[in-house]
Amino acid sequence: MQIPAPFDYVRATTVENALELLARYGPESRVVAGGHSLLPMMKLRLSRPEWLIDINDLYELDFILRDGNKLRVGALTRHTTLLESDEVAGLFPIVRDAERVIADPVVRNRGTIGGSLCQADPAEDLSTVCDVLGAEAVIRGPGGERILSMSEFHRGPYETAVGQDELLCEVRFGIRPRSGSAYEKVERRVGDWAVGAAGAAVTLTADGTVDDAAVGLTALGLDHPLAGAAAVLRGRHPDEELFAEAGRLAAEACNPVADQRGPVDYKRHLADELTQRVLRRACARAAQTQEG
């Protein structure tokens, strides 16, 4: 049994209550959602909050809701819920692609989209997913609500725009016609974090050329979607040559570090290979929705 440093614990009853508690207990307090990132760090005593504010009773943050041309997902939505939602899979197949390879069922039953984004681990799969889908983060704090784009939300590894006294409440995804998306990850074993992964979202024009596209990488040293991907892809017909060009771009742009999962040259190769694969699949899916 790995034993964390001593801490106190309180359960929030509502979003307002959670915000009050955060204000009351200050910088040494942390909210716990699924706990699958925070608790392991506490057990290793890498993280030592004095207060844990449990937000698992905030059912108001556990929802998936279609609202016009937006899909709204509550921050407390579990990985499993996202994985199993046919509505999400239909609109954004990348989510199911990613959720299938995030951790294992035990972790997915507890871990939340909010926790994933706030943890902002460079190997967090949902960060890349939200990036390429151009999601928005709805944050609430003492000063009210603000809505940020993903590029504003992410501030680098383990850092987000969410203040100590704030709560991420919702993630919003824009629904666009003729779109497809895909995610692929290389892991050493089921349940392992990514050696490297890539995600892509593509929108096609009526004539089948690329209208818009985003490519993101996970654990490969690229904090934001691949700059220039859209510029390269837009207006072109999706084909192997185009995918290869995008792959080269990804390999050049990424900045991986060597670790136990692999050396830099391999990871760079993955950026190329996986970018090609996800673009191929995203384009095929987009073409399908166009037909369908």
């Binding site: 049994m1 001593p6 290389v186 074993r189 392992d192 999962r261 692999g262």
Partner: protein, 797 residues
């Protein structure tokens, strides 16, 4: 696919139809395990029990300058803090290992590996004990670490064991076996010689349950009761008597239900000794249970062999000779459990399953700044390394000769008529029919079709590999004359009592860590006495209740204790015969045995069952001469030889050419462990070992950085396989009984662990043949496989 369908367990059936002896019956221990009613070490709670925690060294090599425990002692819940200095006073600072070395219980002079034990806190609860560790101030003077075993013997390498007088280097031993001159001569005149460095990296047994102990020293009567996660309770009792100076009759070791051992729980860890010291010092029971990181970082690892192999053959594929030199990394203390007289255990069985003209091996063992150990992971005492080496070498030779690897093996097997077969390094294999097992495996796999499929896929650029391995295991240590652990001969006792109503209890010295002893040993008695296994209780794990024996590891339970149990049951049967003679007023010679009863030859209606005889043995009847009452017996079984199970494995993998990810698509395992007692348990052992093999072949490695930091200290870093990484196992079997074992059985516990890694790696290398790859070392992670595809395969250490 499962081939055997002998008698099925059917609780509804009448006594006649129920399996009485061998067969596929459900495990007697499982009802308690599947209901969460097992009783593991951490379930033990004694009145007044305290909790211990170990402060561990953060660095790999450092002089210990000072320890200040003042703040820890001031913690309101802390009862005691024990340091190396305290142990020096008790002469307990150093304890003997199982390999003629010593190991520090707590650091006194310097730290020799990261995670080494520095101080022990005893507190009212586990949380306080853990918190207090942070209140101990330790000053270290960091020394350059020795991490790379290849540099251990360099002149400028830091000397790790400088506390040993006269020691100026890190060499533990140099050892060799076989005829060097003869071997060299064969190599010199061979048509073909291939050489390859083959690395078996450091891995960890990683049992689900970590190690721990609850020590309860009763100061009034001087008795120590020590609950431990141990695979060898009796050996531990004797060692505690010798080391701690407590009289042996005042020590009771209890090994409760064990959540996996795999060799990890053979040795005596500092934590066990510290729990005892803590109990003596505090006068209260002390529990110590390590956490996952402690288990992975400080307890017995496995392997860590760098093997330079060479194989000589004729051009047409007759293998002539093998030779190898091994550099063995033993970590900071030589703590291998070693039943043979050889410091490299059974490694010299590296001649494998082949009939050779000559063989020679040498092993150099060195110290490094890493955790000690080397027994573990199915602690086959280095057979695992040996089989891996020869099976890689044979495959490399096959490639060189452009021969099919299965054909090359078939051509070189020891033939059935050659058994008992004396190999070139001194082992006498008891029995075998290798060709039959190999052919069955190929048939189950559809070998020819697989090769055809592979050829088609290669045309399309797809990477499919077929790997073959054939292994001969050497298990069941062993004849007491040749095998011992710190001087304790490796014979096992067994005691059997048949109660008046015909129910029985058998007491054995070996301890189950999941092998199903309570079922297997009951079945052996059942087979011999003809009473149902349900009527036989198996008692094990408590030295106060069981006869002496050396414990469960190296697949020795069935070969040694299994023999003891069969013999003790036969002894009872013979005693029953005498009593039955008196009951039936017949001479015993005129009685005949059928399962469960003695009857008069020619008159089957005149007979007595074991239950009837048992009642008479405890009753008022005048017993025949030589029978003093009861239906009990005891034996000690000293096996005449080891047993040599074998098997033929075929693995099929697919590799993603873009990412290097390996998928094990099929695995066919044909095992021969002689007589099969409970096929279901055998298959369970095989499934576990195969899974283990997938882990070692594809993902497991305990790595260190240049400073000696262990990089495998959690299950996020040290990967073990899950159900998702393994295929549906396809098992088959042949039966070649051991000629010398009382029931013809051989061990099966580690066969699959030994045999599967080479099959998987051979398959991966086979898949990569289009890239010109002839060898790659484990673990075959995506990154390493991809590097091999680029022509840049590198050893992992």
């Amino acid at each position: 696919m499962t081939l055997i369908h002998d008698r099925q367990s059917n609780p509804a059936a009448g006594d006649e139809d129920r399996p009485i002896g061998y067969g596929r019956i459900q495990r007697k221990e499982d009802p308690r395990f599947v209901r969460g009613k097992g009783h593991y070490l951490d379930d033990i709670v004694l009145p007044g029990m305290l909790h211990g925690a170990i402060l561990r060294a953060p660095v790999a090599h450092a002089k210990l300058v000072s320890i200040d425990t003042t703040n820890a002692l001031a913690h309101p819940k802390v009862v005691a803090v024990i340091t190396g200095k305290d142990l020096l006073g008790l002469k307990l600072a150093w304890a003997p290992t199982l390999s003629a070395d010593v190991q520090a219980v707590l650091v006194t002079d310097k730290v020799r590996f990261q995670g080494q034990e520095v101080a022990f806190v005893v507190a009212e609860d586990r949380y306080a004990a853990r918190d207090a560790l942070e209140l101990i101030d330790v000053e270290y003077d960091v020394l350059p670490p020795l991490v790379d075993a290849r540099k251990a013997l360099d002149a400028d390498a830091p000397v790790i064991r400088d506390e040993i007088e006269g020691r100026t280097d890190n060499r533990i031993f140099d050892w060799e076996m076989g005829d060097k001159a003869e071997t060299d001569a064969v190599f010199a005149s061979a048509d073909v010689v291939v050489s390859q460095e083959v690395v078996y990296p450091r891995v960890h047994p990683a049992p689900m349950e970590t190690c721990g102990a609850v020590a309860d020293f009763d100061a009034v009567n001087g008795k120590l009761t020590l609950y431990e996660t141990t695979q060898a309770p009796h050996a531990h009792r004797t060692l505690f008597a010798i080391v701690a100076g407590i009289p042996e009759h005042k020590i009771r070791i209890v090994s409760p239900d064990i959540g996996g051992g795999f060799g990890n729980k053979v040795g005596i860890y500092p934590g066990y000794i510290l729990a005892v010291v803590g109990s003596i010092v505090s006068g209260r029971p002390v529990k110590w249970v390590e956490d996952r990181s402690e288990n992975l970082m400080s307890t017995s690892f496995a392997r860590d062999y760098i093997m330079q192999g060479e194989i000589a053959a004729t051009r047409d594929g007759k293998i002539l000779a093998l030779r190898t030199h091994v550099l063995a990394d033993h970590g900071a203390f030589n703590a291998t459990a070693q039943p043979t007289k050889n410091p490299a255990g059974f490694f010299s069985i590296f001649t494998g399953s082949y009939d050779l003209l000559a063989a020679h091996c040498s092993v150099t063992g060195v110290y490094t700044n890493k955790a000690p150990g080397g027994v573990a992971y199915a602690c086959s005492f280095r057979v695992t390394e040996a089989v891996y080496l020869v099976e890689r070498m044979v495959d490399i030779l096959a490639r060189k000769l452009d021969m099919d690897p299965a054909e090359l093996r078939l051509k070189n097997f020891i033939k059935p008529e050659q058994f008992p077969y004396a190999n070139k390094t001194g082992w006498v294999y008891d029995s075998g029919n290798y060709e039959a097992a190999m052919r069955l495996s190929m048939q189950l796999a559809g070998y020819e079709d697989l090769r055809r499929e592979q050829a088609e896929k290669r045309e399309r650029g797809e990477l499919m590999g077929i790997g073959v391995s054939f292994f001969t295991e050497v298990v069941g240590a062993g004849p007491r004359k040749h095998f011992d652990i710190v001087g304790l001969g490796m014979a096992d006792g067994a005691e059997l009592r048949v109660h008046p109503t015909g129910k029985a209890v058998v007491r054995i010295s070996v301890q189950s860590q999941g092998q199903g002893h309570e079922t297997t040993f009951a079945q052996i008695v059942a087979e011999e006495l003809g009473i149902p296994p349900e009527d036989i209780d198996v008692v094990h794990g408590d030295t106060d209740q069981t006869p002496f024996g050396l414990g469960t590891y190296g697949s020795r339970s069935t070969p040694v204790s299994g023999g003891a149990v069969a013999l003790v049951a036969r002894k009872v049967r013979e005693k029953a015969k005498l009593i039955a003679g008196a009951m039936l007023e017949t001479r015993p010679e005129d009685l005949e045995w059928e399962k469960g009863r003695w009857f008069v030859k020619g008159d089957p209606s005149a007979g007595k069952t074991i239950a009837e005889i048992a009642m008479a043995a405890h009753g008022t009847m005048t017993l025949p001469e030589g029978v003093d009452g009861n239906l009990d017996a005891e034996v000690t079984y000293d096996p005449p030889n080891l047993t040599f199970p074998f098997g033929a494995y075929i693995c099929v993998v697919d590799i993603d050419p873009g990412t290097g990810q390996v998928k094990v698509r099929r695995f066919i395992a044909v095992d021969d462990c002689g007589t099969r007692i409970n096929p279901m348990i055998i298959e369970g052992q095989v499934h576990g070992g195969l899974t283990d093999g997938v882990g070692m072949a594809l993902m497991e490695i305990i790595e260190f950085d240049a400073d000696g930091n262990c990089l495998g200290g959690s299950f996020m870093d040290y990967l073990i396989p899950t159900a998702m990484e393994v295929p549906d196992w396809e098992t088959g079997f042949t039966v070649t009984p051991s000629p010398h074992h009382p029931i013809g059985a051989k061990g099966i516990g580690e066969s699959a662990t030994v045999g599967s890694p080479p099959a998987i790696v051979n398959a991966v290398v086979d898949a990569l043949a289009p890239f010109g790859v002839t060898h790659m070392d484990m673990p075959c992670t995506p990154a390493r496989v991809w590097a091999a595809m680029q022509g840049r395969a590198r050893p992992p250490i």
